[in-house]
Symmetry: C2
Subunit: 240 residues, 2 copies
């Protein structure tokens, strides 16, 4: 079993077991969390190798040349980049199919994720990482896109009465945005303003696979505080 402690530059490649699926991850990376949720939700067995993203192991850069997590590996199969990893997992593993068959519904979900990335995730990172509070207006108006979409779809989840890939693609950053809102009043996702979004957050946090991957609010704050000091705590929560 590989260590939970993030592997770094100079480390040896943790030997791969034949036929075993491995995910290269980072404990609090929202992109990696997408893949972890999908695997847990589909009951796919996997092992985790965490990566120190500030000092990446040489062998990691070789197998995942974009240098990002998640990446998955099984025997000689390697897939990286979160939407590609998630789609590959959904297409090759049995269990609940998480992507709609209808091409237009699939396109609508993909467009929503793309709008979300540009209109919500980008201003969130501007606020959280670049300390640009002026991105707040853009963030709130981006959240309105999700609110309107949930209202017009009129279901428990974006994907319908059960959570689908579109929900799992959106959730990880929303988790952090919701937590940011708890410590920054101005960025709060208020029920009177976003009733459908608040209900969706309640619904998705009750999904077992989502629960397991939840970064606690307490850890989230530690991570943000460390970042303000230019530090990254990749091993938060690991029993050392």
């Amino acid at each position: 079993m590989p260590s939970e402690i993030a592997y770094r530059k100079g480390s040896d490649f943790p030997a791969l077991e034949a036929g075993k699926l491995r995910v290269y991850s980072m404990r609090h990376c929202p992109y990696a969390q997408r893949a972890r949720i999908v695997m847990l939700h589909k009951n796919i067995e996997f092992e985790t190798v965490n990566i120190n993203l500030k000092e990446k192991p040489e062998w990691f850069l070789e197998l995942a040349p974009l240098g990002t997590v998640p990446a998955i590996q099984k025997d000689d199969i390697i897939v990286y980049d979160s939407p590609i990893v998630c789609q590959y997992l959904d297409e090759t593993y049995p269990g609940e199919k998480l992507t709609p068959n209808d091409p237009y519904q699939k396109a609508k979900d993909a467009m929503l994720v793309e709008r979300y990335s540009k209109k919500v995730v980008t201003p969130f990172y501007r606020m959280a990482l670049k300390q640009e509070p002026e991105a707040l207006g853009e963030l709130l108006s981006g959240l309105n896109v999700l609110e309107d979409e949930l209202k017009s779809r009129g279901k428990t989840f974006f994907g319908g009465e059960k959570p689908m890939m579109v929900d799992f693609m959106i959730w990880p950053h929303m988790e952090r945005i919701a937590d940011m809102g708890k410590v920054n009043d101005k960025a709060a996702i208020r029920k009177d303003q976003f009733p459908n979004l608040v209900a969706w957050i309640d619904n998705i946090t009750a999904v077992p696979a989502v629960k397991v991957t939840r970064c606690s609010e307490e850890d989230f704050i530690k991570i943000v505080v460390a970042r303000k000091e230019g530090k990254e705590i990749f091993d938060i929560g690991v029993e050392q």
Copy 2:
């Protein structure tokens, strides 16, 4: 028939004909070109509405909220963002299927397009639009990724013996990179350095759908020169 001249802010919405597929495009936009090639290659009938991307019509922003081309519209169906548009066209229209059925092959193509976007297109834009000649090294090493991939795939096209979606996703920017190389010696795609890439460029430029959408080298230079002066010539080549 809508005008070929780019529609701008304040213009009236060009009435939509029932059942007719329309693409919102811009004459020399590489992203829009991806969709145009796919439609031409699959013999899909369509009409074109060009958009002035500096002064976008209000109705365009309403139907394509990211404000980018391509977007397609047919009756009440609207799809935007080039990879989503291309996938939707491939899945809903008859004719040659351009995406592989095998999930791993599909993932490999998607990873290649992602690497290409980050490692080739980004440095290309830094050179061509931001006038950062220091991006040249990065561009050439990105082109090596394509060269190596072509070599290891060992076929006429990235997609096999026939061009596939992966080829059409890569081509439009490569067209411009190759043209830039003709006027900037240092950025030239030299046959001794990139034998497989040069052969691929020859092969893909012979594909009829690609030929039709080719932006001439002469027009490309006019566009680049205009951009250096802060101007955009959206209507280049239109009979006025």
